[in-house]
């Protein structure tokens, strides 16, 4: 096993493990911190794929900004185990059954696909900023511009809903 492979397996293990902890952690703050850890492992995976730009942007945007706001909101809300509404046993039972069925179906479906050949990156420079910029402004120009309008309208909406009216 090469260093890259063992790094991959390590990161993948940490990613899966910490994302499980995100779901199972009792304390929402811990959940968020595990989620940040997950983002870091994902960044590691990106860097293994030589996609440094995406990796770093993942840290800046998700770990550095969005998760800070998550943490911020959760700290303000002061969520804890006592204030969390408990589900009835029936609900839990139904949840387990549906989730289990979903898991079985997904495993069955995806298990039967043939394992792919080892992925070899064709162009090593694919993930670098310059190439990404070219793709973004050529092939994906339209989605890129649409996203800007989407964000603008979402921002209008957020301001609208949060604004306090002075009569």
């Amino acid at each position: 096993m090469t260093i890259t492979q063992s790094l991959f397996y390590f990161l993948a293990f940490v990613a899966i493990f910490s994302s499980l902890l995100v779901v199972t952690a009792k304390n929402p703050i811990h959940s968020v911190l595990y989620l940040i850890l997950t983002f870091f492992t994902l960044t590691g995976e990106y860097i293994l794929l030589n996609a440094q730009f995406i990796g770093i942007v993942n840290i800046i945007v998700y770990a550095g900004a969005i998760m800070v706001l998550f943490l911020f909101v959760i700290m303000l809300l002061n969520l804890n185990v006592e204030s969390e509404p408990q589900k009835t046993n029936l609900m839990k039972f139904i949840g387990i059954i549906t989730g289990g069925i979903g898991l079985v179906v997904l495993t069955a479906a995806l298990k039967s696909t043939d394992p792919s050949n080892t992925v070899v990156i064709q162009e090593v420079d694919m993930g670098l900023v310059k190439n990404l910029g070219q793709v973004l402004f050529k092939e994906f120009l339209l989605p890129f511009e649409i996203v800007s309008i989407l964000f603008l309208s979402a921002m209008v909406g957020a301001v609208l809903l949060a604004r306090k009216e002075t009569k």
Partner: protein, 505 residues
């Protein structure tokens, strides 16, 4: 550096060549920004400025959309490196979306809840325009990324619109529920899309590689990926597994928004669904497709369940908006019948049905809005005896309901007739028994729907009002639009060829 300059140049040229086809969308984006700026600087001085810009702007966009019929070649144009495709069918859907947008804007002008909200109306109008923009992209999208983006676009703005009446508990609940369900649906869809991309290696669903990739892996895996992706679309058209959000959202949202949500996203969702189904089945000859039988079965089964759930649940409703919500679910089932029939006649039938449905449904909601302006209630109880007091509007309501039920002489009858005949035709060709069962269920459901639709005229005409309540004056603008819509519904019922003859793709 030189290299990049060339790339930028070529991409600019490409964009300049394509922008003429995107004129309505670009106009919408500009009007949106113009409205924000106008609201900031001049809204205090000129009353209703933003609303005026919105209505006139959308009207211009409507003309631009109509103009596109002449602009494009018959086989359509593929734009922006196969991100979107502008075809005649897409333009028809855009026409429908723009018309319903216009009607909803006019509706909102006089809705008492919106007029009295403390937020003011300016953001409301701009958001309606943005939703229209998103819907326009939805009907044209043919790339997984564009599909996802446009659906999110519509969803995000719809959440805000549903929760627009802040301070009103029901509206807030409606927005919150919509957002939560929508987030789950889009997450599921995104997962499905990532699987599809993994299987096929392309985002362009019309690409031959997309079909080949799906056909080469085993059916089970492909179906799971497709199902997960379809979940997001089913959410938009409120079809069976993703329909639970509908009643609460429709009830709590401001009435104009309910009218809009019950028509426009459904139109766009159906258009997208047809694109998607066609892409999945497009390899080789249609009969040789791997997925044809399974998609047909799936859609037929979903159509049956959706319409049955919708129509039967509607029987017990006492709130008119809730009732209309379940009726909307039922109608999604009927439209899915047309999609299941998967043929050219089926698509024309769907388009005609959507037209008719849009007219009648927006009309019915306009009447609900009219009544709620008059006596501030949406409960069936309070409709008692109103038929005599507001004769014109009530007669129009009856026409809309008859059309929604699908009885002659209204357009709804013709619409349903086309859908049924498309399904029968598909059965004749393919011999899939499920399609026949679907038609039988369709007929049964039509009969069931009669029961609950009938409750409204029953209360309007045959029951006496319990007490005299103070009534506000009805609104002239509303009455005019309602009557025009009712006349159209009758007209299309008698002369359906006037529209069918135009629909040609």
């Amino acid at each position: 550096m030189k290299n990049f300059v060339e790339i930028i140049q070529s991409s600019i040229n490409d964009t300049l060549g394509s922008w003429i086809y995107l004129l309505p969308e670009i106009s919408l984006a500009f009007i949106f920004i113009l409205m924000i700026i106008a609201d900031l600087f001049w809204a205090k001085r000129i009353k209703n400025l933003v609303a005026i810009i919105a209505v006139s702007g959308l009207f211009i966009v409507f003309l631009e959309v109509i103009d596109q019929f002449i602009l494009i070649p018959p086989q359509g144009v593929v734009l922006f490196s196969a991100m979107i495709k502008l075809s005649t069918a897409a333009i028809w859907y855009k026409v429908l979306i723009t018309i319903s947008g216009l009607l909803v804007l006019l509706f909102s002008l006089r809705d008492f809840q919106l007029r009295n909200t403390e937020k003011g109306g300016s953001e409301y109008y701009s958001l309606v325009l943005v939703v229209t923009l998103g819907l326009n992209f939805m009907v044209m999208a043919q790339n997984l990324l564009m599909i996802y983006l446009s659906i999110e676009f519509v969803s995000v703005c719809s959440y805000i619109l549903a929760a627009y009446l802040t301070g009103n508990k029901r509206s807030e609940e409606s927005g919150m529920k919509y957002a939560l369900f929508g987030a789950v649906a889009s997450a599921v869809m995104l997962y499905g899309m990532s699987l599809l991309y993994g299987f096929t290696g392309t985002l362009d669903i019309t690409n031959q590689a997309f079909y080949n990739g799906l056909a080469s892996i085993n059916l089970m895996s492909a179906s799971v990926a497709l199902l997960l992706t379809l979940a997001g679309l089913f959410f938009k058209i409120s079809a069976f597994p993703m329909q639970v959000w509908v009643p609460d959202v429709y009830e709590g949202a401001p009435t104009p928004i309910t009218a809009f949500l019950s028509v426009a996203p459904k139109v766009a969702g159906i258009a997208l669904l047809i694109t998607f189904i066609r892409a999945v089945n497009s390899g080789g000859s249609p009969s040789g497709s791997v997925f044809l039988a399974s998609t047909e079965n799936l859609l037929a089964a979903l159509a049956i369940i959706t319409m049955t759930i919708g129509n039967f649940s509607a029987l017990w409703q006492t709130n008119v908006k809730r009732l209309m919500a379940y009726s909307a679910i039922g109608h999604s089932g009927f439209i899915l019948m047309g999609v299941a029939a998967y043929s050219m006649t089926g698509q024309k039938a769907i388009l005609f049905f959507l037209f008719v449905y849009a007219l009648a449904n927006i009309g019915a909601f306009l009447v609900i809005g009219y009544f709620s302006n008059v006596f501030h209630s949406e409960e069936l109880e309070d409709y008692k005896g109103m038929g005599m007091k507001y004769p014109l509007v009530s007669v129009a309501m009856v026409i809309f309901l008859v059309s929604l039920t699908g009885l002659p002489p209204t357009a709804g009858f013709v619409g349903k007739f086309f859908i049924f005949s498309a399904a029968i035709e598909a059965y004749m060709l393919g011999g899939n028994v499920l399609l026949l069962i679907m038609v039988v269920f369709g007929v049964v459901n039509t009969v069931v729907s009669l029961f609950y639709y009938f409750k409204i005229p029953l209360n309007l005409y045959l029951r006496k009002a319990k007490t005299e309540i103070s009534l506000d004056k009805g609104n002239l603008l509303f009455s005019v639009i309602i009557i025009v819509l009712a006349l159209f519904t009758l007209f299309l019922g008698v002369f359906p060829n006037k529209l069918i003859g135009l629909i040609n793709f």
